[in-house]
Symmetry: C2
Subunit: 104 residues, 2 copies
């Protein structure tokens, strides 16, 4: 489950940097939960070919994150916004929002 979530998040951020062909197969695998055999049938590629393509996509998405750290930055901001949402104290709001502006 953890892996599916993470793949989904990385794909949301960097999926547009994959080719249209890669995106179709990756979406069917990760979001539509199709098996290697189903994907192989659907796209006329060997199971090994599908497997390699998915691994290559994962690697590319991870590589973009390791260079750009945008998922990490967004997640950090998200946590702070949740803190703002949970406090009743305006001083705390000011403190956290200043921290976020420094991140941005």
């Amino acid at each position: 489950m953890e892996k599916i979530v993470e793949q989904g998040i990385l794909y949301d951020f960097y999926g547009e940097l994959l080719t249209e062909h890669q995106r179709q197969i990756y979406e069917d695998a990760v979001f539509n939960d199709m098996s290697l055999s189903e994907l192989a049938d659907a796209y006329g590629i060997s199971r090994q070919g599908i497997h390699d393509l998915l691994k290559r996509c994962d690697k590319m998405l991870l590589s973009y994150e390791s260079k750009l750290h945008l998922v990490e930055r967004f997640e950090k901001i998200k946590r702070k916004i949740r803190q703002i949402n949970e406090t009743e104290d305006m001083k705390t709001v000011r403190k956290i929002s200043a921290e976020i502006l420094e991140e941005l």
Copy 2:
């Protein structure tokens, strides 16, 4: 000025996706304000070569933004955080922070 700022922001987000060589020359041009002639001398490339490299870098950075829209998303969040920073009303804080969480 506008262009320098924009180049700088795009570079902050996507610069890591350029090669080390491109990054060096791009930084010298955009942040250290070196001229084409100075860059040509420093890197042993023709002025035309430097010019082409810088144009290619600009194009790549813009292309990443046109696909990923991350500068745009960050700027949007930044504007909303500033609104949070300026209000005295906790209800407004809640409303804006909920909007930001939807963006994230």
